[in-house]
Amino acid sequence: MHLMEYKYKDMIHRCFRCGYCKFPTDWSDVTNCPPYARFRLESYSAGGRLWLIRAWLNGEIEWSGHLAEIVYSCVSCKNCVEKCPHSFADDVVNMIIAAKTAMVNQGLLPKSVTEFLTNVQLHGNPYGISAKKRGDWMEGLDLEPYQGQDYLFYVGCEGSFDSRAQSAARATARLLQQAGISFGVLGDKEISDGNEVEMMGEDALLEDLAQRNIQMFFDLGVQNIITLSPHSYNVFKNRYPDFGGHFKVFHHSQILADLVKQGKLTIPETPDTRITFHDPCFLGRWNQEYNAPRKVLKAVPGATLVEMERNKKGALCCGGGSGNFYTDFLGGSEDSPARIRAREADAAKATILAVACPNCLTMLEDAVKVEGLEEKIKVRDISEILCG
């Protein structure tokens, strides 16, 4: 693709590379763009990435595996969108996603990205695990398949397949049962929601997944959806309407906050705990939901809610977005964003690092272990905390 065919050809040169986008809301450091925090070379900052993308599309530099890794190391966390002072700020992340699309269309991808996309295409999940195993997470839970109940509980790929995230899916299902919510699940009929493939530039695959999901939801009469993952929440809420799928979408934190308020959950006491909450990007910066998970956590008897230095709009991403939980371009260093975040939770003297996203759960749990903090800090999805 040449620059002239690129959707943002009249915009991309407007990045001044001034680096406001490196900072969180409180300006505490230049490390709030996860790939820049990890590598600390200008090429990995949002501005560096935009200038490289323009140079590639312009023919100033050729495509290379390294270029693709730089582009794909963007986790779509939207910190740049939050901090860029210019009128085009809203499109900073879109310009990067569009470059990924250009790479997809030319088949110029890092191996792990190709694997991810192929797995989703073939198996409906990025792990390449047989779709038949998708319902394994709910064994022994006595859950009903979706057949017109009030809500569809959409678990998503991580909750279905990742052993750590499965525990959050199970906890959420249990809480919904406990509160008497009428809901069903898709089991092995469930397929990927498409959020990550879109962030990775695979527009056609998003369209295909969205259409298949929408058709299935229509056929089953789904109207209300509860998602475990903020990524699913984001794509169902904001992108499915573009493909004709209009549903009422809730993230599990919103439903749980409501159930807590109504007193429908018995929350176990957790004495002497200090809980800190890690805002997931697709709940926070993408959808401005900062309160629901905090409402849930404030209701935990015996626990104190403390904030990490970077929180809400200024939170540092765990580094798992845009498929990076799988492609892992940001791993392998003490400056990996998840490890920085684990240390921040420790600095806040938290005993529980609470999350509301299966991606964050796995990323941060691994990071806490590598940092040798597992004796001090437990990483828990908010649903697991409520379950005790």
């Binding site: 915009m11 406001y20 490196k22 300006w27 230049v30 600390r40 070379l41 200008e42 090429s43």
Partner: protein, 452 residues
């Protein structure tokens, strides 16, 4: 794989050294109008020891090194004129000490000004430093290497006047410390040791600043911006003089710009005042407007444009996106405050010739001892012709500064040559000797302050 690259990897690890074209491309450009200049290697050390090893390696291999902080000068000062190794110093960013009672802090020089402001705000709210109006990613070391000025320039001068101690890696790789820290008595003063002013303002050509003790100042609880407007540029020096006589303002800046229309041909003086109580603020407002500037208000040639505006971090880089173009560069000059009218008029003419709406600004340094006057020229990064116009305008402005007997601040190579052409031969000779002595292999940011 070259031996230099391998050696760099050995020093800092593979993640922080690169000879790949993606990094080289990125570091070949800065934000202004300079043509790209490619380094051969990029390296980002974390410690002074790593930096020393890199400098020793460069000496051994006789390869140029270019220190880089935020890369925000716009004037190409951290672009490698002769290839070599660009050393990105931003990983050297620790806060080492804050001494609240003695009002100083010791930092590593790659720290950003944004981080310092945020840290003080949270942990020492009664202290502040002089933050330049640059994007907050600008570093302390880079700012000192060009004699920058910040939002306390009016009461306290250049940022390089606010240094209590320095640690520098010399061009041969040794470390040297200056100020009280050199005699092991802490970082609280630069004097009374013999003056060795060899590093500030040298664009990294005599050494790489690694640690800085910066003076901190009282940070009052309330801070506000007040705008006074006058019709004629001739009034500006006197307005500034009157306000500096009071000695109550922090930042003191006069501006005029063609856009927005309400600014066009008018001159706005921004008067930052601060206080610990509303009573103190009211007292300062009263003295500023009702006493010191009342003659302008009474005669109808000046007036209060706004009072008590909240002070927010300047987002000057917005001016880069004029006409959706993504770029601007400015000439800054250190001139007497009395030069404001001429600087404004001649600058507006240059802008007019190049079809760029004029934007000028003068920041008072000290009690009207001088002023940093800037002429900004916006361009469209995607349109070579506008870049050329901006570049030509910058060169014309450099020449204008010389013509009006000013000095160019952070001059690009073009401006450095103009300055050195007129420099006192004695000073020039001394610069040459110093350079030869400190940097025998001529590896330090060559091309900058190149005394021939």
């Amino acid at each position: 794989m070259s031996s230099i690259y391998q050696a760099l990897v050995k020093i800092v690890g593979a993640d922080y050294a690169s000879d790949r074209k993606e990094e080289l491309f990125t570091y070949s450009k800065d934000l202004g109008t300079s043509e790209p200049l490619w380094p051969e290697y990029v390296v980002a050390p974390k410690t002074t020891e790593e930096l020393q090893e890199i400098v020793r390696l460069a000496n051994e291999k006789k390869v140029a090194i270019v220190p880089l902080g935020g890369g925000m000068t716009l004037a190409g000062l951290a672009l490698p004129q002769q290839g070599g190794i660009t050393i990105d110093l931003k990983r050297m960013d620790r806060i080492i000490e804050v001494n609240e009672q003695s009002r100083y802090m010791v930092v590593e020089a790659g720290i950003s000004h944004g981080k310092i402001t945020s840290y003080l705000h949270k942990h020492h709210p009664n202290l502040m430093h002089s933050e330049p109006g640059a994007p907050p990613a600008a570093t302390v070391g880079g700012n000192l290497a060009i004699h920058g000025q910040g939002d306390l320039a009016h009461p306290y001068g250049f940022n390089s006047d606010m240094v209590n101690g320095l640690e520098v890696v010399l061009p041969t790789g040794e470390i040297a410390r200056f100020g009280s820290c050199a005699v092991g008595s802490g970082w609280f003063t630069m004097h009374p040791l013999p003056d060795i002013g060899l590093f500030l303002g040298w664009n990294g050509t005599t050494g790489i600043i690694t640690k800085v003790s910066m003076k901190l100042y009282p940070n009052k609880k309330i801070r506000e911006n007040n705008l006074f407007v006058v019709e004629k540029e001739e009034f500006v020096p006197d307005v500034l003089f009157e306000i500096s006589h009071l000695g109550m303002a922090e930042d003191l800046i006069a501006t005029s710009s063609e856009i927005p229309p309400m600014m066009n041909r008018l001159h706005y003086v921004s008067i930052m005042i601060s206080g610990d109580s509303e009573e103190e603020m009211e007292f300062k407002r009263h003295l500023t407007f009702d006493v010191q500037l009342s003659k302008y208000i009474r005669s109808g040639v000046g007036g209060i444009a706004s009072v008590s505006q909240e002070r927010s971090r300047p987002q000057v880089s917005k001016s880069s996106d004029w006409k959706k173009g993504g770029g601007f560069e400015y000439v800054g000059a250190i001139v007497p405050v009395t030069s404001y009218p001429e600087c404004y008029r001649r600058g507006a003419e240059i802008s007019g010739r190049h079809d760029i709406p004029y934007t000028v600004l003068g920041r008072v340094i000290g009690s009207c001892h001088s002023m940093m006057f800037s002429w900004s020229y916006a361009f469209n990064r995607a349109d070579d012709l506008t870049v050329k116009h901006a570049r030509d305008a910058l060169h014309e402005t450099d020449e204008l500064v010389m013509e009006i007997n000013g000095t160019i601040w952070k001059p690009a190579i073009f401006g450095q040559k103009l300055m050195m052409d007129r420099m006192d031969p004695g000073a020039l000779r001394l610069m040459k000797e110093v350079k030869k002595l400190l940097d025998p292999n001529g590896i330090m940011n060559p091309g900058n302050w190149e005394v021939i």
